[in-house]
Amino acid sequence: MMAATLIKKELIMNVLTRGIRNAFRNVIRTFSLVVILGLSVGLSLAMLVAYQAVGKKIDSVKSSVGNTVSVSPAGVRGFEGGGNALTETQLMSVSKLAHVSSVTETLSDRLTTSNTNLVSAVEAGSLGQRNAGNSGQSFSFQGGGMPPGGAGDTIGNSNSTGTVTRTFTPPVTVVGTTNPSASAQGGTFTLKSGKTFASDSSDNVALLGTSLAAKNNLTVGSTFTAYGTTITVAGIFDSGSTFGNNQLIMPLKTVQTLSAQAGAITSATVNVDSITNVESVTTAAKKALGTAADVTNAAAQAETTIAPLENIQTISLYSLIGAVAAGAIIILLTMIMIVRERRREIGVLKAIGASNLKIMYQFMAEAITLTLLGSVVGIVIGVVAGNPITKLLVNNSTNSTTTQMGMRAGRSFERGAGRGFGGLQNSVTNIHGAVGWSIILYGLAAAIIIALVGSALASFFIAKIRPAEVMRAE
């Protein structure tokens, strides 16, 4: 019993060893085949690496963009443009849409020396002075509302003939919001001291940016005047940007009441439950709000960023399939060639008592040996070339769009949507492809499958060879 299994094992071993030895019968052919297969396997691996690296990057870009939709009144960007504010009623219809998890509503306003004792922490500078020129001849002051174009009453104006001299003091921006931590301009919100307020609060409280608080010597619990009302400092925050730290964040209801803009909303950020639903929510919100609002999402912008990456992914996928197919065809044709070349030998083996199956195993062992040798060469090529190829692909096709997108992102004034876009742009090209163990295992598995497929057709020819062929005269 023991001896029988030993013999059986030994017999299989012999078929295999013969197959492996046969792989080296023609050294030049084996060498060429291994090199060609190596190139094909190496290219496959490099493409697999590129495919995975780019795929990972696409995922991270998608998740970094976030799942938000921005809503602002039609025709308005920040304090530029014109049009009418949105109403809470209008946004109620948006918050009731499917897949909407929450809506942050804000009302932005500017405080000038006419209605606050706060002094801006930002100097006008040359950019600020531009506002002095274009501030509002065509506007007229309306009761405690927004002063024209943000120009304060330090505008030394007048209607007198002669030279008009204007000076400009940057206003303090006040943001009335239902979600204070998501409303600071600049990307981050860190509460330095104090506490925030509830989303539905209507108290006369405010969160101050660090520089604004410092400029006005305010700490938590201090008071200041705005809209002719005494406001208490509830907390001080750091937004990470100079502009943001000059901001004042107050409850939405308070700002609406104090600025006499009841129910008015100047911007809203809609949080969607999943990134895949951003597009459908955007469409639904556009439908719900009609021409009253501009509805945008960062996903559309991310799409432009991702598009070249997706092209690379497609290219690498096709190259991967192509390289694997080429490898399969090479081994297939080689095996057919080898079988045809050894017709007589196969005939002899059959004549002296070998079964078709044993001969097939022998040829499979030969094919697998050749393919594995090719894979080893290919893995070396893949390890060496994987990362450079990925970088080359990504750099070549994203360079043009990066500059384009950078400009667009810079212009974007929207809170939330435009946030972190510069960083996103930088990271798109920062892709690292590497050959990991899993990829090498995939490669080897693919090689063995290729070898088996390659020798399958050859086996068909083996089975068809009749032993009588040996008897033919040479």
């Binding site: 001896a3 030993l6 013999i7 030994e10 017999l11 012999n14 013969r18 030895r21 046969n22 019968r25 007589r344 030998e345 002899v348 083996l349 059959k350 004549a351 002296i352 008592g353 070998a354 079964s355 044993k358 009749r466 032993p467 009588a468 040996v470 008897m471 033919r472 005269a473 040479e474």
Partner: protein, 229 residues
């Protein structure tokens, strides 16, 4: 005992049918050395293929020790070729990347013998056909034609077959070597009690065999069988 009855094999070549072996009947007792002679194209090789179960006849039967091999299934045919038949070819047909001893071991491997037994028998067979120890590990490319044919004979004898079929075994050899190979075959047929059927052109060799069959256009020529049958 080998008994061939009304054996016929025809091939279709385009519209015409060629009958290579046409209604042949003969018997060869065990341990005899029979030769088949005839012009080329007379059907010698086809007859040999049929006897070795390499090819199937159109009609007729071949009975080896009372068993009709034309009725065997593929699997049984492999076993028949493996255990009952030894082949010797004109072109030796050794496996070029295996050594002499490995070539002789090959049929025993297919028959399922353990490695130690295979090696032992292969070495003794090679000694029997006149190989020295240092030649046994040579590959066919390093052996002369006569030596290669000796390896082929040793390989044919490996599984102690009932029947050895030789197709022009001396055809590629010079006359001296050819004669030596023939004598070797003759001796082995006697010592191992194996029936040998050899196709040959060489009438001198044919004349020394126990029986000679003359084939002419696929038919057995009259009076070709002589000797002790």
């Amino acid at each position: 005992m080998l008994q061939v009855t009304n054996l016929k094999r025809s091939f279709k070549s385009g519209d015409t049918t060629v009958t290579a072996v046409n209604d042949i009947s003969f018997t060869v007792p065990n341990g005899q050395f029979a030769s088949i002679v005839g012009r080329s194209g007379s059907g010698k090789s086809t007859l040999l293929s049929l006897l070795g179960a390499l090819d199937k006849p159109t009609s007729g039967s071949i009975s080896v020790d009372g068993k009709d091999i034309t009725k065997l299934h593929d699997h049984a045919l492999i076993a028949y070729r493996c255990e009952k038949i030894g082949f010797i070819f004109q072109g030796y047909n050794l496996v070029p990347n295996l050594t002499a001893v490995e070539n002789v071991m090959l049929p025993m491997e297919f028959a399922g013998l353990a490695k130690a037994q295979r090696l032992e028998r292969a070495l003794s067979l090679l000694k029997q056909v006149g190989f020295s120890d240092d030649q046994m590990d040579r590959k066919p490319g390093k052996l002369s034609g006569g030596q290669q044919q000796r390896v082929a004979i040793a390989r044919a004898l490996a599984n102690k077959p009932k029947l050895i079929l030789a197709d022009e075994p001396t055809g590629n050899l010079d006359s001296t070597t050819g004669k030596m190979i023939f004598d070797l075959l003759h001796d082995l047929a006697r010592s191992e009690n194996t029936t040998i059927i050899a196709v040959t052109h060489d009438l001198e060799i044919a004349g020394k065999t126990d029986t000679t069959f003359r084939l002419d256009d696929g038919k057995l020529a009259k009076g070709s069988q002589k000797g002790k049958a």
